[in-house]
């Protein structure tokens, strides 16, 4: 059977383009990272209210991505939310013990993420440690309620 | 061995929907001879070939090729048997995505492991036999009707079959192509010792090459014999068909009510 080189080339390019497109969808659109962070370490943080935080949400420090939320569960000792953070291994032993974690919102209606702010304690956090100083998500209804009750008191 | 017929058709019954096409057809097709199956249009001659090739299954009766009941074979065994058969279709049925050379090479490529130079030689031999060696690079769309049939013939004989089935090989051909095809059918039979079954209603051409003739009508074998014996057959139906008379026992008119009453009845019916 006669074989046409241009046709074979066309099909090859077509399939290659499809695979590259899938890679594009993975990296650029879903934000997967090729360099899987080989070494990460985890921190725990308890929040009174996480609002709309979801697993896989970003964890930032000074606006820079440093990790992601790997799990959220209810802590039945305190009945608050226990959030597990997976952080870049380079930060292990660098964050001071009094680092604070806050749940922030990107824009008014954007997605929620965890923001870390450094403290001043010379002692540092290691793998599996717990952040004690946390700030819950802002819940719009609670804010309004507070505002209204303040008005009534005045 | 050579005395037993290659194809035996035994009391074949076949119907399509409510219409009975065959009601007990039996025939013997001897080896190395050209057997013609003739009959008016619409009597199911092509259907008979399809039954012999086991593309259709009969309601009752048997078809044996070389002693094997073709309708009882497994799919695999049937395909193996078909390698020993060639069939020439009315339309030629060339593969439209392949050129002439590849069409003839097709059976060789799928059924043999021959090296490329040998396939080339075989294909050129077959094309030479039908006189179209020069047309090997044409595509089926560029061929005339007669050439298409000749290429199809070359393809049908590519694997040197023992049996070749011709479905209306002469129909719709100009006199020259018709003559060429008649010659080819005859020559292949003589040179290769092929057993041939020719289904046709071209009386003159078919009778000129056939060794034995079956005439079928109304789902049954109406007459059989050598061309010479059929020529003097006295049965009026056979005689009408063989001599091509327009009216006779097979009426010219489709069954209808009396002509005068039909004309004079200016009623509602169209």
């Amino acid at each position: 059977m006669k074989r046409s080189k241009t046709m074979e080339l066309g099909v090859g390019l077509f399939m290659l383009a499809g695979i590259l497109g899938l890679v594009f969808l993975g990296l650029r659109v879903s934000g997967l990272s090729l360099s899987v962070p080989a070494d990460t370490f985890t921190l725990q943080a308890n929040f009174a209210n996480i609002g709309g935080l979801k697993p896989r949400a970003r964890v930032t420090m000074a606006g820079v991505n440093v990790g992601r939320v790997s799990a959220i569960e209810l802590d039945t000792d305190w009945y608050d939310a226990r959030v597990t953070l997976e952080l870049d291994g380079a930060l292990e032993g660098q964050l001071s013990r009094d680092t604070t974690a806050a749940i922030l919102t990107a824009g008014l209606l954007g997605e929620q993420y965890v923001g870390l702010s450094p403290g001043g304690d010379p002692e540092t956090l290691g793998d599996g440690d717990t952040l004690t100083d946390t700030q819950s998500a802002l819940v719009l209804e609670e804010l309004i309620q507070q505002f209204v009750s303040n008005m009534v008191r005045d | 061995m050579t005395d037993t017929p290659l194809v035996e058709v035994d009391d074949l019954h076949f119907s399509r929907g409510d219409k009975e096409i065959f009601r007990g057809v039996s025939m013997r097709i001897p080896r190395g001879k050209i057997t013609a199956i003739m009959g008016p249009s619409g009597t199911g001659k092509t259907t008979l070939l399809k039954l012999i090739g086991a593309q259709l299954a009969p309601d009752a009766g048997r078809v044996r090729i070389d002693g094997q009941d073709v309708h009882a074979l497994s799919r695999k065994a049937l395909f193996r048997l078909r390698r020993r058969m060639g069939m020439l279709f009315q339309s030629g049925a060339l593969f439209s995505d392949l050129d002439v050379f590849e069409n003839v090479a097709f059976p060789l490529r799928v059924h043999t492991d021959l090296p490329e130079p040998m396939i080339r030689d075989l294909v050129l031999m077959k094309l030479q036999a039908v006189g179209l060696r020069g047309a090997r690079h044409l595509t089926p769309a560029e061929l005339s009707g007669g050439m298409t049939r000749r290429v199809a013939l070359a393809r049908a004989i590519a694997l040197d079959p023992e049996l070749i089935l011709y479905d209306e090989p002469f129909v719709g051909q100009d006199p020259i192509s018709m003559g060429v095809l008649v010659q080819l059918v005859k020559r292949l039979n003589e040179a290769l010792g092929l057993t041939a079954v020719v289904v046709s209603h071209d009386i003159k051409e078919t009778l000129s090459i056939a060794d034995y003739v079956y005439v079928i009508a109304d789902g049954q074998v109406m007459a059989e014999g050598t061309p010479a014996s059929l020529d003097v057959e006295r049965d009026p139906r056979v005689s009408q068909f063989v001599h091509g008379e327009p009216d006779g026992p097979v009426p010219f008119h489709y069954p209808a009510v009396d002509f005068y009453r039909d004309i004079l009845d200016t009623g509602r019916q169209r």
């Binding site: 099909v11 399939m15 879903s30 | 593309q55 339309s91 049925a93 490529r109 059924h111």
Partner: protein, 260 residues
């Protein structure tokens, strides 16, 4: 009344019979792929089915992405949430529009061509003569086409998504002046590779199977006349479109509707 019930019953039986026949047909063809020369036959069909559908799919994808961005922008700006445009464009495309629209275009472009081609081969006795040569047309003719369609449509869907997201970028960022970083970062924050890209691909695989199956079966099963071919071609487009849209609802309900 009774004759209607009988007619209904007959229709039901016919439908079941056709389903059974086409199921057997699918099984026989799909298993017939690894034959001699099979790979090359498949490659040829990839060209006819896939490469030749690329242009129409990509152009449609670009326009749909652009329209999504334009429409989405006018809605989102009312909520001051125009930075979520990237998210909206990407999710609509990946989950819904790319698999469905690509499948509909594929049914019109490649499916109808497959039906007509196989139908023509049947009408000109090519399939019968292949059988007489001792070659199974299901393996030789149908299987490569089935597999080519099955592989092509998901690839075309990926192309559709990529081009659509780029089209959204063109309109949102280059034309409407959205900040480029927020287009991509919002998208990355909300799109999950498995849940969104993966499920979209799964949908596309299902559609690919159904559309190609309908197309080759209609071609193989038609009445071999010119009228039969034209009817079967129409049926391919109608049945595939309905099947794609109906299945899309079912799949969406299972994948994203919280049912499981």
């Amino acid at each position: 009344m009774i004759p209607r019930v009988i007619a209904l019953g007959r229709h039901g039986c016919d439908l079941l019979e056709a389903l059974g026949r086409s199921g057997l047909f699918l099984a026989q063809s799909a298993l017939g792929w690894p034959s001699r020369e099979g790979l090359y036959l498949w490659l040829r069909q990839m060209h006819f089915v896939g490469v030749l559908s690329l242009a129409i799919v990509l152009v449609s994808g670009l326009f749909i992405g652009m329209v999504l961005a334009l429409q989405g922008y006018t809605i989102l700006i009312d909520f001051g949430a125009e930075q979520a445009l990237g998210q909206m464009v990407a999710l609509s495309l990946l989950r819904e529009l790319a698999p469905v629209v690509a499948a509909l275009l594929f049914a019109g472009r490649a499916g109808s061509a497959l039906t007509a081609e196989i139908g023509l081969m049947k009408a000109t006795e090519q399939l019968t003569s292949m059988e007489m040569i001792g070659v199974d047309p299901l393996r030789r003719v149908v299987a490569p086409r089935l597999w080519a369609g099955f592989v092509s449509l998901p690839l075309l869907t990926v192309g559709f998504s990529v081009v659509g997201i780029y089209g959204g970028f063109l309109v949102g960022v280059e034309w409407l002046g959205l900040f480029e970083g927020s287009y991509w970062s919002n998208m990355q924050a909300s799109v999950d590779f498995i849940a969104d890209v993966g499920n979209g691909m799964l949908k596309s695989l299902v559609f690919a199977l159904v559309v190609t199956w309908i197309a080759v079966f209609q071609g193989y099963d038609l009445i071999p006349t010119s009228e039969g071919i034209s009817r079967a071609t129409t049926r391919t487009v109608v049945y595939s479109s309905l099947a794609v849209l109906g299945l899309d609802f079912v799949l969406t309900a299972v994948m994203f509707g919280g049912l499981s």
